[in-house]
């Protein structure tokens, strides 16, 4: 009897578990399970060209480490992710600062600014492809012709190809930065600015010593989301440049697609995916450490 009442009391104390369990099971089932299954597949030789597969240990990891194109793909990924995150954050911050001020048409601009975020990546890739198409039908080439300039085949030059790719991804990601940072700006206590103003602080000093430190938690979230989002981007690179010319715009996420769906080598694709998963985890830990360490400095 006493045992039953203890059990009932425990149940009653932890009844919140019944409410959160469905969500936990759903999230684990839809994210953790596929991720772990992917890791498991990376230790096999699963290839869609064959009916069977077996455990091969670290063979796929050795193969990836000795892949001749790996240095180039890693370099491309680093350039792509760093540029996109830096541009997305800085443009997002600038736009958020502007939209946070009581300027005419602010509401309308805020609504329009979100549009690129709701357009599917594949559509954005097709839009940019149309924009930078090498033929005379390309919008940029049409603009060039108005000024008497020669048509360009943008995607045949490795540097221009990467620039267009970065531009397309930044264009899509900036609205998220604006929304996050605008939300953060609106939570900053106005009295801080008034006090700083009375003390004679300049606008730059207010930005540096009030706005940015207050925005740090939001910036952290933004950096993590932008980094993992960009690392995992496959739709825009695939539809816009396909990794070319050569491998000059091939990023790790695109290598996963190519290995998994073009070469049908599911295990090798899972190996690259596992590496990206680890990279994401590592970068998140680094960001958290760096930003937390900075938070602790003033005290």
């Amino acid at each position: 009897m006493a045992q039953r009442s203890t059990f009932a009391a425990t149940l009653s104390r932890h009844q919140y578990l019944f409410f959160i369990m469905p969500a936990v099971v759903l999230v684990l089932g839809l994210t953790a399970y596929p991720a772990l299954y992917g890791v498991l597949v990376s230790f096999t030789n699963l290839n869609f060209g064959y009916a069977t597969s077996k455990f091969v240990g670290f063979d796929n990891y050795v193969r990836l480490a000795t892949w001749p194109a790996l240095p180039q793909v890693l370099f491309n990924t680093a350039v792509f992710v760093t540029s996109v995150v830096a541009l997305q954050l800085s443009i997002g911050l600038l736009a958020a600062l502007l939209l946070n001020r009581a300027v005419f048409g602010r509401g309308l601009v805020r609504s329009i600014a979100i549009l690129p975020w709701v357009i599917p990546g594949i559509i954005i890739a097709l839009m940019f492809q149309q924009f930078f198409s090498g033929s005379r039908l390309g919008i940029m080439n049409t603009v060039f012709s108005v000024f008497g300039l020669e048509s360009r085949t943008w995607f045949s030059n490795p540097t221009e190809s990467m620039l267009v790719l970065i531009l397309a991804v930044v264009w899509r990601g900036v609205p998220l930065s604006i929304i996050l940072q605008l939300g953060g700006l609106q939570t900053i206590n106005k009295e801080l600015y008034e006090a700083a103003s009375i003390d004679g602080a300049s606008r730059w000093q207010m930005l540096r010593f009030i706005t940015i430190p207050s925005l740090r938690p939001i910036l952290l979230i933004n950096v993590i989301m932008a980094t993992s989002g960009t690392l995992n981007h496959v739709d825009i690179p695939l539809a816009l440049t396909g990794g070319g010319p050569g491998r000059s715009t091939e990023v790790l996420a695109l290598s996963i697609y190519k290995q998994g769906f073009e070469v049908l080598d599911a295990s090798y694709a899972s190996t690259i995916a596992t590496v990206i998963l680890l990279l994401n985890l590592l970068l998140t830990i680094v960001y958290l450490r760096v930003l937390r360490a900075r938070d602790e400095l003033p005290s």
Binding site: N45, S135, F155, G244, P245, E262, L264
Partner: protein, 428 residues
Amino acid sequence: MSTKWTIAAALAGTLLASPVGAVELTVWAQTDLSPSASLGPVAEAFTELYARFQQENPDITLKYEILPGGTEALPSLLTAASVGNLPDVAILDSFWIARLVETGHLQPLNDLWTEAARADVLPAAVESLTFDRKIYAAMFSNAWRGVFYRTDQMQALGFDKAPATWDEFLAFADKAKAAGVKPIMIPGANTEVTTLHLISTFWGFGGDLVDASGKPIFFEGDNGKALEQTYALYRDLVDRGLLGTDVSTMDEKALRPFFYTGEVAAIANTSSGLQQMYSDAPTLKGNIGVFPLPLPNGERAAPILGGQSWGIFAADDEHKQAAWKLVSFMLDPANLTAVDGAKGYLPVNQSVWAQPFYAGDPLMQQFKAIFDGASVVKTRPPVPIYPALSSALSEQVAGVLDGSVSPAQAVERARDSVMAEYERQGAR
């Protein structure tokens, strides 16, 4: 009262829509071969044909579902096979059949498809889908890859017929170059499409990709020479200023805008893109000519056989018979013409070639003449190493075009990449 009538009407509607005891037939197809196709005529053709089939067969209820497009479709089918979730019948790329046969779920059609009906089909189209004397799918379309030109542009350049020899081709290309037009554009992006154009030329040079056991031999002896000649031909065109290195990121679709504006005199493309070209640039209708790329050795690039096919997965007799009913209906020459014509596919059936749509179109007759007159018509080898092989061959094109990789190096690099994978696969 009104509630009672609403319920009665709903019930009647349900019963009419799905007759009691009707066999529900699940059909899988990629979007562009379904009533949801983005190309209007294709969507209309499938909508009309499915509706008519449904009307003629009230004992069968069709339920069509969309397969992911392109290369993602095969993994989807294999996943479905592993969890027992395959459809009863599906439109399948003929290249997937060998792999699907391995799953043990694809049903042989020998008992369903009569010999008389099969006699109408190009023998190679049946043979390529036959394994251990069992026919596993019914190919209903074909595509040709080769060189497309605008007839008015060709005439403006002073030619009244397509180049038939390498020298004639060079003369045509030089004339185009002198007129300030890009002479030719060939897909160079690292994709399967680039490989298809490449192996068409490679086969024209007499090369072979794999031996009878499926082992890659494209780099050995005469095959290696043929592949080197193929890459050298691309490089030679660049050196002569007839082909730009800008094609190294382009697939067939990316070349078409240059064709529409007349910036290029000829593009390597596919007959499957023809309806899209007409839709994008209606003035091209009646203004397009085609020719297989003539090669310096006196041969021509070889046509590749391969297209879409109907396959049946249903194992129980009731669903299998219902599925075959649908397949036979879709293979009827008039119905097949509606689909193939709308999509711009080339037929594999003589009776479809005889339909007015094909018989009365000079361009279609050019395609027919190319296939009929070809000394070599091949399918891509349906072996597990092919995707790796295709990727390795197309990967070299950008380097060959910009001169950073010599044709001989390209062959070696492709060999190293493919054989490493072949050994890995052999150790399974």
